[in-house]
Symmetry: C2
Subunit: 515 residues, 2 copies
């Protein structure tokens, strides 16, 4: 058994049964081993950012790490931005990066690069395999390194070609993931005292571990009803249940001033798997921190801990009954011209039950919350690291991580261009993914950010740098070019209808929405 | 004057008059300064790999560094692979990477990352600006750092937002680039003695600095004619003149066995700006080094030195007359079905004089050499770092770096997908770039590499990982989606005709060639 075969067997034995691949020459023995041995499904991406973003989406839905197969330093470089996003989402990913044979690394060949440097700048864990005999143990250690309590980590294993082709491989099995640490009763009791004492002057702030669990959202709503405290979620969440039957938990706004307003009057933030809220960017003359001056932080649960259990324990300590829940009125079929409201209504009305929504509609999607509360139950996934280009790849991984559930991806035209190669993988794997591209033909968010940072500009060079309208992108053509059927709609009823037809067809589809 | 304005003025004063931009919020003050002040042209890319690859192409033609404007760590990550390629081409590039305001970097905001780590893994020079007052001096130092003798370097300046918006900026001017160091007479005399003594048992090996200069190629041909030595160029070259009226210098083959065969019998390699030849990849049981055992290396000129002057001095020392030069017979209009030979003939026959050819036709283009020798005079640019996705961006930069010259880009379908966003910039800037995509619908090079590494595989998983035919990419649609007119051709005459019509129209165009 060679090193590559021991690696494949170790992955299969350790529950890593999916690999997003973009291989090259130095990975050929690993490709051959994947081919010969059962247990690991391979999905090809035509750009490495598709592979790493898909692994992020897969973790969010399956709570299991997927592997990526990348080609030396440049392959990892191409996947870097979506690894950054996954790192901020605390998704677990195992990167396997082929490298030159160890002997060959002495020389300055074209693909020689500072692989450990680029890997280390985005990974929690990096190892360079040294021999075929050790690759199995290296891989088992890498699988273990993809978890940190309730959170996931980025683990990168560099695989020199000779450690793959060399003989003497020994398959291993990674230890089972330990459960997330429970929260001590003292922290629960202290949080209960704070919330009872302060009522609406306290904010219970949910982070990723809490906002991803429907039970945790119900517990948080019950806690609010019993104590009068405010409940908020962080402004970006890796996964958040929403729609009918789920409590609607407001998110902290993206804009700093609005977030400060939302937190005003708070004397304590009780952190449930969250961290202190910080502005996305800094702005001249404004603080980075968003909480009111003098507002204290009290930790109920760290992000690594079992946040849902902590919230349920807190609800019990408060003897909080279930909160009364009233769904909004059912949605009618929208009609009329495309406006932010009618677009949101059409998307909400057409959404199938248990859909997964990947939100990268940078500006257009900000106001969708109220309409989505009336939609069928769904999960809402957001970009966590601020690097655009996460949406289409994330949808690929979400569809594979939640088989049988339809996926809807909301994209800005600017962000969709970064990793449009994901459309091809959607077509190749016949994934049930709808893509709605909001074609505002601009980096609209930057046009807004200009005022925020106080930069004065009115000239043609700046306008040209923030506008995408010359030439206009034709998303129906870009989808067709990759085997995805598409259409353009001009009013809300047509959008709703196109979505319903797309979901019914069962494969990928794209809708361009001018806005 | 704020820091951003001092940066723009420093660039303009230092001869950096072109910036490939993909900005975000943290770069808004720099964008505003570019807008207000004259002297720096901005070209927008919809993906950062387009910006960095374009800067590579620009250096190769203009021999001046362009700037890139990138958005924090992820923006640099997206540009990493083409910076790697540029680093191997020894192109000079000045990256300006926006970062959070210094105060904001204390916090773990979404876009916080190990920016210095990812920058350091691909740059020769990295600096993080610390105050608005120092930005001008930092920028001047960065411009100076883009040069190392005859070679270019990757310099990366991180620009925290507050150093851009802060007051007290002081524009500076980078010192003029020093000329490349001349070669000592002793090295020239020693090389002359070796070549005279060994004749065909010596190989004069040209590296980037020599192969890029028409005068150097003529000198090398004269040296060969006078001494009987063999002349070869490295297997990849950043820029190499070819076509009618230029000596045809053979390149070392890509495949290791063929390269070893080509060098067999050599007792000395005389290095003219080249380095010891090393295999692209390692293969089981084969050496990385390509020269015969016992073959000595003798340096005429290092890559940093003035290689063309060294070759001319060597020709003079050998009293070598100009070599007789006979062009191949003129090309007729090709006809018949598309074969490697007829494709090469059509491309060569249609090529306008002084065209710049960007070669990323990974497998299809390998045999084009003989036909191109009969084409009109041109420059031939190759990917230097082995990271595919360099071609379309490089063409953008080459067109801007060589105004008035038509550009032809030869692309594989696999490689073109990595950075297809470059097509949009070609359309936006109305650049005279023809793109020929060879649609073999496979990672054909990997299908060949399999045998080279001795990996056995025959199963469907491996076949699926190396094949792009399900679904087939429609390059005419992908071009149309970005505003570039395209067509598909079915025979050699149609290819030749489509090329001629495209060149005549003067803007970008794309031709899909099944093969």
């Amino acid at each position: 058994m060679n090193g590559a075969e021991s690696l494949v067997q170790t992955l299969a034995h350790s529950g890593v049964d999916l690999c997003f691949t973009n291989p090259g020459t130095s990975e050929m023995h690993f490709v051959a081993a994947l081919d010969r041995l059962p247990g690991v499904r391979c999905v090809l991406g035509l750009f490495e950012g598709v592979c790493t973003g898909a692994a992020d989406g897969y973790w969010r839905m399956a709570r299991q790490p997927a592997a990526t197969l990348l080609h030396l330093g440049p392959g990892l470089g191409n996947g870097w931005a979506n690894l950054h996003n996954a790192r901020k989402a605390r998704s677990g990913i195992l990167n396997i990066v082929g490298d030159h044979a160890l002997e060959h690394l002495r020389f300055e060949s074209p693909l020689k690069s500072d692989l450990d440097g680029v890997a280390g700048s985005v990974s929690h864990w990096v190892r360079h395999a040294r021999s075929a005999a050790e690759v199995g143990a290296d891989a088992a250690a890498a699988v273990a390194a993809t978890r940190d309590g309730a959170l996931g980590c980025i683990a990168t294993l560099a695989l020199p070609a000779d450690t793959a082709w060399g003989a003497g491989g020994v398959p291993q099995r990674a230890p089972a993931a330990p459960p997330a640490a429970p929260v001590a009763g003292e922290a629960v009791d202290a949080a209960a005292r704070t919330l009872r004492a302060l009522g609406s002057r306290a904010v219970l702030l949910l982070g990723a571990g809490g906002s991803a669990s429907e039970a945790a959202l119900h517990a948080a709503a019950a806690i609010a009803a019993a104590t009068g405290c405010r409940v908020l979620a962080e402004f970006y969440n890796p996964r958040m249940p929403g729609g009918r039957g789920r409590p609607r938990i407001e998110r902290l706004p993206y804009a700093g001033d609005a977030a400060r307003q939302k937190l005003s009057g708070a004397e304590v933030l009780v952190l449930a798997g969250s961290v202190e809220p910080i502005g996305f960017f800094a702005y001249p003359g404004k603080a980075s921190q968003l909480k009111p001056e003098g507002c204290a932080l009290q930790t109920l649960a760290t992000p690594q801990q079992d946040v849902p259990a902590a919230l349920q324990a807190l609800a019990e300590a408060l003897q909080a009954p279930s909160a009364p829940h009233a769904d909004p009125a059912p949605l009618g079929v929208p009609s009329g011209p495309l406006t932010p409201e009618s677009i949101a209504a059409a998307i909400a009305a057409a959404l199938p039950a248990q859909a997964v929504v990947v939100d990268e509609a940078v500006t257009t999607g900000r106001g969708f919350g109220p309409a989505m509360a009336a939609a069928a139950p769904h999960d809402w996934l957001q970009g966590m690291g601020g690097a655009i280009g996460y949406g289409l790849p994330c949808a690929v991984g979400a569809a594979l991580g939640a088989p049988g559930r339809p996926v809807l991806t909301l994209e800005g035209d600017g962000s969709a261009m970064y990793t449009l190669q994901a459309l091809w993988t959607m077509a190749r794997e016949s994934l049930p993914i709808g893509v709605v591209v909001f074609a505002n033909r601009a980096y609209r968010i930057l046009q807004g950010e200009l005022q925020g940072v106080g930069a004065r500009m009115s000239g043609p060079k700046a306008a040209a740098m923030l506008s995408l309208d010359h030439p206009a992108l034709d998303w129906v053509a870009l989808a067709k070019g990759q085997g995805v059927p598409g259409c353009r709609v001009d009013d809300a009823a047509a959008l709703c209808d196109a979505l319903k037809r797309g979901y019914a067809a069962g494969g990928p589809f794209l809708i361009e929405v001018p806005c």
